[in-house]
C-alpha cells in the first residue's frame, strides 16, 4: 500500500510539471501583461523597462525553468496585479473556495444519493417522476444561468439571501471561515446550490441506474426470499453494491467542483480561487494563473488517490486480491 502511494506521488509530480509546461506555453499567446500595468500613454521605454524588471523579456523556456526552480523552493513569485506574494493571495482565497466546494459536495451527496435510491425503488411514483424532471433541468441548464435564476428569485424577488459576496467571515488562524456567522452561512446557500446542482442530478441518476441494475440481481431476490427486511436489502445489500462507480464519479466530480467553481464564483462575486483566476486571465497575471493551474492539478491528483484508496474500503474483493498476491 505504501509503495503504491509513493508511486502515485511520483507520478503526480510529473503530471503537475506537464500542466505547468502546457500552461506556460499557452500564456505566450495571451497578450502582453505590460499593457494592463501601464497607462495608455506610457512610452515604449517605460514599457520595456517594466518588461525587463518582470523578466518577461526572457525566452519562454528560461521563464518556465525559473518558474519550476522557484516552485521547488516554495517561492511562487509575486502577482503582477495585486502586488503581493502569490502564496499569500492563494492562501487567502483557498478557504473560500474549499468551503464552497465542501458545502456543494455535501449537498450533492446528501440530496443526490437518497433521491437516487428513492427513484430507483419507486420507479413509477409521482414523486420520482417529479424528481427526474427537476434533475433534467439541473443537467441541462448552464451553471451561470442557474446562479442568475436563484439570485433573481431569492435575492431580488424574495430578498431572503444575499446576491453576492461571502458575508461576514471569522478568522481562525490563517483560515477565514463563513461557517460561524449567520450572514456567512446565508451567503453560502445560493452559490453552493448553484455549484452542486449538476453533481446532485448526476449522482442521483447514477445511483438510480445502478440501483435498478442491482435490484434485478439474484442475490437480492435470495435476500428477499430469506425474509430480510426491506431496509436491510435496499441499503445493506443493494446500495452498498452501487457505491463503487458512485465513489469514482463523485470523487472526480469534486475535482470538477473546484474547477467549475470558476463560473459560480464569478456569478456570485465569491472571493475564492476561481474568481481570482478569472481576474488574473483578464490581467494576464502569469504567476497567479500558473500557480492556480498547478494547484488544481494537485487537487485532482490527491482526489484520485483518495478515490483509489476508498475502493479498498468499499470493495472487499480488492483487499482479498492484494493479500493473495502477497503470498
Amino acid at each position: 500500500m505504501f509503495a503504491y502511494i509513493v508511486r502515485r506521488a511520483l507520478q503526480s509530480v510529473l503530471v503537475m510539471a506537464a500542466v505547468a509546461f502546457v500552461a506556460f506555453a499557452l500564456f505566450q499567446y495571451m497578450g502582453d501583461p505590460i499593457n494592463q500595468m501601464v497607462a495608455q500613454d506610457a512610452t515604449l521605454e517605460q514599457r520595456n523597462a517594466l518588461r525587463a524588471l518582470l523578466g518577461l523579456d526572457r525566452p519562454f523556456y528560461v521563464q518556465f525553468l525559473l518558474f519550476l526552480k522557484n516552485l521547488v523552493t516554495g517561492n511562487f513569485g509575486f502577482s503582477f496585479r495585486v502586488g503581493t506574494p502569490v502564496a499569500q493571495i492563494i492562501a487567502e482565497r483557498l478557504p473560500a473556495t474549499l468551503e464552497l466546494v465542501f458545502v456543494a459536495a455535501l449537498f450533492a451527496l446528501f440530496v443526490g444519493v437518497p433521491a437516487g435510491v428513492y427513484t430507483g425503488l419507486h420507479r413509477h411514483g409521482a414523486l420520482s417522476r417529479f424528481m427526474l424532471t427537476v434533475s433534467l433541468i439541473g443537467v441541462s441548464l448552464p451553471t451561470f444561468l442557474i446562479g442568475i435564476l436563484l439570485i433573481l428569485i431569492f435575492a431580488v424577488m424574495l430578498g431572503w439571501l444575499p446576491s453576492f459576496g461571502r458575508g461576514t467571515t471569522v478568522q481562525l488562524g490563517f483560515w477565514s471561515t463563513g461557517f460561524l456567522t449567520t450572514s456567512g452561512l446565508k451567503a453560502l446557500i445560493l452559490p453552493s446550490i448553484t455549484l452542486g446542482l449538476f453533481q446532485t442530478t448526476l449522482i442521483m441518476r447514477l445511483v438510480r441506474a445502478e440501483m435498478l441494475e442491482v435490484l434485478r440481481a439474484d442475490y437480492i431476490k435470495f435476500a428477499r426470499a430469506r425474509g430480510l427486511t426491506n431496509r436491510a436489502v435496499n441499503f445493506g445489500h443493494a446500495l452498498k453494491n452501487t457505491l463503487v462507480p458512485v465513489i469514482t464519479i463523485a470523487g472526480l466530480q469534486i475535482g470538477g467542483l473546484i474547477a467549475f467553481a470558476i463560473i459560480t464564483e464569478t456569478v456570485f462575486q465569491w472571493p475564492g480561487m476561481g474568481f481570482l483566476f478569472i481576474t488574473s486571465i483578464q490581467f494576464v497575471d502569469v504567476p497567479i494563473m500558473s500557480t492556480y493551474l498547478v494547484l488544481v492539478a494537485l487537487f485532482f491528483v490527491i482526489i484520485n488517490l483518495v478515490v483509489d484508496l476508498l475502493y479498498f474500503a468499499v470493495d472487499p474483493r480488492l483487499r482479498v486480491d492484494r493479500s493473495v498476491s502477497a503470498h
Binding site: G31, D32, A39, G83, T84, A155, V156, R166, P271
Partner: protein, 525 residues
C-alpha cells in the same frame, strides 16, 4: 447576562452617529492598488482622490479649484508658484509641508512610477518659504495646472517610517503602500481587501467641510453585470456602474432604483495606416490606398454613424466629428460637425482614386474594451462592402488588440479601432498621442502614422504657448487640418449609465464624465 448584552447594545448604538449613512457602491473591477505614484487608471485614481489630495482639485465640471494650494500663478515662463494651505494635517496627524511636495515629486519621477507622465515637465520643487513653493519646469508648460489634481501628495515622514519611499511595482516585494494610505484627503482608509472591499470614512482632520451625509463608504467590486444589477435591485448596494443597456428598463421600472445617464469623455475612432508603401492586405500590389486622401474620405462617408448610434448603441452614443469630447479644453464645435453620410459620393471618390472595384483590408478591433466595440465593427463591414471595400474583421481581446496595433508589434495594422480620453482634459494630449509623430513623447498611439507638418508645428507650439486664448486657437486649427485631411474617423462618445437607489442617493447626483466615483461629488439623502 441579558442585562450585560442590552448595555453593550446600547453602548454600541450610542457610538454610531444619529444618521449613520453608509454608501455601498460597486463597479466591474477592483482598484489596482493605492500607491499614488502607480496604478494610473480611472476608478483607482478616483479612490486616490478620496484619500489623497493634489495641489489643485478638479470639479465636476472639469474646472480647477484650490486644494493643498490656495493660490497659483506664473512667476516666470518656467516657474509656477503656489501658496500652500496652512494647518493641513495628514490622516495620522503629521503636518503637511513643502517638503512633502518635493518628496512626492521624487516618487512620481522614479523609474517605475507610471504616473510620472503627469509630472514629466517638472524639473524640481523649490521650497521658497514655509507657505510658498515653486514648480520649476524644463520649458514653458501651459497645462501643468491641469495635471496637478492627479499629483497626489503623500507624507514624507510616514513613507520613511514605513519603509516605502521607493516606488515598487509589486513584483519583487510586498507593497505596503498599495494596501495602506495616509493622505490629506477628505476620506481616510479603514480597510482594504483586494477583490473584495475597500472601506473609507470621513477624515475628521480635513481642512474642508463635507456636507454630503456619507458617514462611511464601502467600495465592493462585482465583476458580473447581472449580479451587479441584482445587488442594486435587492438593495445590497446603493450605486453601481456601468449599467448594461438591456437592464436599464428593469432598473427604472423597479421602485426605489433608477438609471442616471450622462456623456462620457472618451472618443471612439477608426485609424488608417498612412505610412506603409504597401498595404498589409495587398501584398504584391505595391499600393496602400489609405495614403490617398480621397480613399480616406470615401471610407468616412460610407459609414452611416446615425444607424450605428440608433441600432448598435441603442441611442447611447453621441456621434461626433471631433477627436475630443465637449468639455475637453480645445474642443471646437466647428470641428465636431461631421461630413454627411454619402455612399454614392464615396463610390465616386474611390473610382477617382483608382479603386472602382474597391480593395481588401483587415479591420482590427477589440471585443472587450469599449461599449459594443465588436458590434460597431461588424456593422461597418457591410457599410463598406456597399461601396466596394471588402473588410475582413479581426476582433480579439484587448491585450492582443493593443499589442497588434501598438509599438510592440510595430503598428501591425492597416485599419483599426481605438478610444482615447485625454488624461489632462486638454486636446493637446490627444494631438501628441494620436495625430503627431515628432514632438517629445509623440505618436505613441498614432498607430497609422498620420503626419502633417502644419499639425506637428501647431502641436509643438501649443505645448509651450502660455497665452490661453492663442493656445486654444492653435489646438482648434490643428484639429481642423486633421479633420479636413480625414486623418482618422471619429465615431462617437459613449453615454455612460449609473444605477442608483433613489431612496438614499440625492437627486442632485450626476454621473461623472470620467465614469468614476469621487465621494465628494456624491450626496446621500
Amino acid at each position: 447576562m441579558r442585562y450585560v448584552m442590552a448595555t453593550a447594545l446600547a453602548v454600541a448604538m450610542a457610538a454610531l452617529p444619529a444618521h449613520a449613512k453608509v454608501l455601498r457602491y460597486s463597479t466591474n473591477a477592483d482598484l489596482l492598488g493605492l500607491d499614488p505614484a502607480i496604478n494610473n487608471e480611472g476608478p483607482t485614481n478616483a479612490m486616490k482622490t478620496n484619500l489623497y489630495e493634489g495641489l489643485l482639485y478638479r470639479n465636476f465640471d472639469l474646472s480647477l479649484e484650490p486644494a493643498l494650494a490656495t493660490e497659483w500663478s506664473q512667476a516666470s515662463p518656467t516657474v509656477w508658484r503656489f501658496k500652500l494651505r496652512q494647518g493641513v494635517k495628514f490622516h495620522d496627524g503629521t503636518p503637511f509641508t513643502g517638503a512633502d511636495v518635493a518628496f512626492s515629486l521624487t516618487r512620481y519621477q522614479s523609474e517605475q512610477a507610471d504616473m510620472r507622465g503627469y509630472m514629466a515637465t517638472v524639473k524640481e520643487v523649490k521650497v521658497v518659504d514655509a507657505n510658498t513653493i515653486d514648480l520649476v519646469t524644463n520649458g514653458p508648460d501651459p497645462i501643468l495646472p491641469q495635471q496637478l489634481p492627479l499629483f497626489f501628495i503623500m507624507s514624507k515622514v510616514w513613507a520613511e517610517k514605513n519603509n516605502t519611499t521607493q516606488v515598487v511595482r509589486g513584483t519583487s516585494a510586498p507593497t505596503f503602500i498599495n494596501f495602506n494610505a495616509n493622505g490629506t484627503g477628505p476620506y481616510k482608509l479603514v480597510e482594504r481587501v483586494a477583490d473584495n472591499r475597500t472601506v473609507v470614512e470621513p477624515n475628521p482632520l480635513w481642512w474642508g467641510k463635507l456636507d454630503n451625509g456619507i458617514t462611511r463608504a464601502e467600495f465592493r467590486p462585482i465583476a458580473n453585470a447581472a449580479t451587479r444589477v441584482a445587488a442594486l435591485l435587492s438593495g445590497e448596494i446603493d450605486l453601481m456602474y456601468p449599467v448594461p443597456s438591456q437592464d436599464k428598463q428593469r432598473i427604472n421600472s423597479t421602485k426605489g432604483t433608477k438609471v442616471l445617464e450622462g456623456p462620457e469623455l472618451r472618443t471612439i475612432f477608426f485609424g488608417f495606416d498612412q505610412h506603409r508603401a504597401e498595404s498589409l492586405d495587398m501584398k504584391g500590389s505595391g499600393k496602400n490606398p489609405f495614403k490617398d486622401k480621397r480613399v480616406r474620405e470615401a471610407v468616412y462617408k460610407a459609414i452611416d454613424i446615425q444607424s450605428i448610434a440608433r441600432v448598435v448603441m441603442r441611442g447611447e452614443s453621441r456621434p461626433t466629428g471631433s477627436m475630443v469630447a465637449p468639455g475637453i479644453a480645445g474642443f471646437s464645435a466647428e470641428v465636431d460637425k461631421r461630413p454627411a453620410f454619402n455612399p454614392d459620393e464615396a463610390k465616386k471618390l474611390l473610382t477617382e482614386a483608382g479603386y472602382p472595384n474597391g480593395f481588401q483590408v483587415t479591420l482590427d478591433c477589440p471585443n472587450d474594451r469599449y461599449t459594443n466595440d465588436e458590434a460597431i465593427c461588424q456593422a461597418v463591414v457591410p457599410m463598406l462592402a456597399r461601396v466596394g471595400v471588402q473588410v475582413k474583421l479581426n476582433a480579439q481581446t484587448r491585450s492582443l488588440h493593443f499589442d497588434k496595433i501598438g509599438l510592440k508589434e510595430n503598428r501591425n495594422t492597416s485599419f483599426y479601432m481605438l478610444g482615447w480620453t485625454p488624461g489632462t482634459f486638454d486636446a493637446h494630449n490627444m494631438l501628441v498621442n494620436i495625430v503627431t509623430m515628432d514632438g517629445p513623447g509623440a505618436g505613441q498611439n498614432n498607430s497609422g502614422v498620420y503626419r502633417n507638418a502644419k499639425v506637428e508645428e501647431l502641436t509643438l507650439k501649443a505645448g509651450t504657448e502660455m497665452d490661453p486664448k492663442k493656445r486654444l486657437e492653435m489646438l482648434a486649427e490643428a484639429q481642423m487640418i486633421h479633420k479636413n485631411e480625414y486623418g482618422h474617423i471619429p465615431l462617437h462618445q459613449q453615454t455612460l449609465a449609473w444605477g442608483v437607489r433613489d431612496e438614499v442617493i440625492h437627486d442632485s447626483v450626476k454621473p461623472r464624465p470620467s465614469n468614476d466615483v469621487d465621494l465628494r461629488q456624491i450626496k446621500m439623502k
